[in-house]
Symmetry: C2
Subunit: 334 residues, 2 copies
DNA sequence: CTTGATAAGTGAACCGGTTCATTTTATGTT
DNA sequence: AACATAAAATGAACCGGTTCACTTATCAAG
């Protein structure tokens, strides 16, 4: 492996000059710049980035912790992070934590040990379950929830849920089912809050039996749909806490012979690409995933570069998209 | 920042002993091991990984180059890579290249400069368009095509396409349309080859006008469906080169009033999760994405660790999955 | 042709681990 | 107790860049 000293010898200059030629070419004479260039070419010199980073103590890397990489929503957030990071000359180290706190610890350790400059967490913050130390680690929570104790970017989940459910109520629905995420998930909590707000502000009483717990994955949507179908009094509309479960629920109901939206209205959350492919297309809430990623990265870089010191919370607007899967309530259901 | 020398002083030992205690604890006496442990605790010492990697010259990191992170197929391959890498103690650095060769070069440079030990490329190899140097970089191509000149993992794309199209022919279809990827894409080439083989082995003449070029994305599927619909002699079945375009085409045809599969049969490729959600569910080819990722990582690690030197090609079996979107040919079409 | 100021270049020290030849200590044998 | 041998510990050198106090070259002004 050729080192900077080899180049120095070849060019007849000192290592300091070579180093400067590479990082601050404007501070080196044109004549010598050419010599350096020639020597580098001749020796096919590639600076050892590990040595560079080690000495200069900046990794130019940010870590992104993802609970599940095979999730389209996260993929889009990452895409946004990537684009901002790249522009700023930072690398993005992606950590698929698979909800394992051991892995999360490993990635946080990378920041503590200067392998990375900061971390963006895509797993929503849960009280008493944060592995992030209070100090010494620059961190941003993307797609977070209310009450995250460090810098975060999110949408108003409760408000969005409220909006969706209010729309269903205005369409005449009064028995509105919910397919939620896991109860302990912070997103579930926020969105359920919005659901209940919508009911109460329209004078509808909350019926606990209409909330079926899912886990944000496909099969839980299918199973929830079956449970609803078998109720003596099936709801006329179902608010699903993400698109995947909503699409599953539609399939579940269709297989039972119900028509959507004539017999039952369905709403989702996230606006995945699929949601506009599916037949019928899905009424849902669009989260600006890519922008959430971009903003998170910007916030983190500002912290790393010392431009910002206090913790901030950025709340993006969401978009409620009405498509074919919802319609006015009519008597005929089931 | 506390260094190993601080720990040595605190424990009353030499740096060498501390270092050994951390990497080969079995070679240090129990008594001193405890002293070291105590000193580390007391000083809250975190070894500087950059220094470690710099000195030991192994980054324990592999780079994965992805043309598009927001693509479910890639996400699954990555997931497989991650799991193998993690198990071997390697980190995975994800590079979203967005088909930009500049970015690809940057990531390859990371390997050349020892920031990473090897690279897995998820973009299929295209002749005269490879940025990988012939030597000095450990590389594996995942989800590759026939004729990749370095180690690779793939399925038999041509064979799978042949199988799909042969099935359609056996169901009585003779005019079979194709929605392809971009012509220059190697996957397009391989799959088209399979399509033509199926036709010729059943004595059906190839009709160029039945191949419509798409780009693997949703809208190109919609547009292709429209073009087929407007033909004087619309095909009775369409072979789509990925699921996304197949789902789009189904929607396109349905919107025109055609029924699937009664009026027109549709097949996809990839078996995305959505493909079993969609109504009707999609007949397609399943690629073992996760396994492709795992195998790629295993091959790369073997190369890095010097266990294997020659370049290898691993071809996974594919799975042809018949669902609801295809049926026997009947006269009534359109 | 000095002088002074600025630009360019030098090279040894440094970053914080790991490594290894060498010294010290522990263990076993007779 | 004396000696051989293995195990443990030592600490200086090293990795390949960057940094910075210092020297040398350059050039405009007097």
């Amino acid at each position: 492996m050729t080192t900077i000293r080899d180049v120095a010898k070849e060019a007849g200059l000192s290592t300091g000059t070579i180093s400067k030629a590479l990082s601050h070419p404007e501070r080196v004479s044109k004549k010598n710049l050419e010599k350096v260039e020639a020597a580098i070419q001749k020796l096919n010199y590639k600076p050892n980035m590990l040595a560079q980073k080690f000495r200069s103590k900046t990794a130019n890397t940010i870590v992104v912790m993802v609970p599940d990489i095979a999730n389209l929503f996260f993929a889009k957030v990452i895409s946004g992070i990537e684009s901002v990071a790249q522009r700023a000359g930072y690398n993005v180290l992606l950590g698929d934590t698979r909800d394992s706190s051991k892995k999360e610890k490993d990635f946080i350790r990378m920041v503590e040990t200067r392998l990375a400059d900061g971390v963006i967490n895509l797993r929503p913050y849960k009280e008493n379950d944060s592995l992030l130390p209070k100090t010494g680690v620059f961190a941003v929570s993307a797609s977070s929830c209310e009450g995250t104790p460090y810098s975060s970017v999110r949408i108003d989940n409760a408000g969005a849920a409220n909006k969706v459910v209010s729309h269903l109520i205005q369409q005449g629905h009064t028995r509105i089912g919910v397919i939620s995420g896991l109860h302990e998930n912070p997103h579930t909590r926020d969105r359920l809050k919005g659901y209940m707000q919508a009911l109460s502000s329209h004078g509808i009483e909350f019926d606990e039996s209409l909330v079926i717990e899912g886990d944000f994955n496909y099969w839980s949507g299918i199973s929830a749909a079956e449970q609803f179908y078998n109720m003596k009094n099936c709801p006329s509309a179902v608010f699903c806490m993400n698109d995947e479960m909503a699409i599953a629920a539609m399939k579940g109901f269709i297989d039972k012979g119900l028509r959507i939206p004539q017999d039952i209205s369905i709403t989702g959350f996230d606006d995945m690409d699929v949601s506009k492919y599916v037949v019928p297309t899905l009424t849902t809430v669009a989260q600006p995933a890519e922008k959430i990623g971009e903003k998170s990265a910007e916030m983190l870089l500002d912290m790393i570069q010392g431009k910002v010191t206090e913790t901030k919370e950025y709340v993006f607007p969401y978009e409620f998209i009405i498509r074919e899967s919802t319609t006015r309530y009519t008597e005929k259901a089931k």
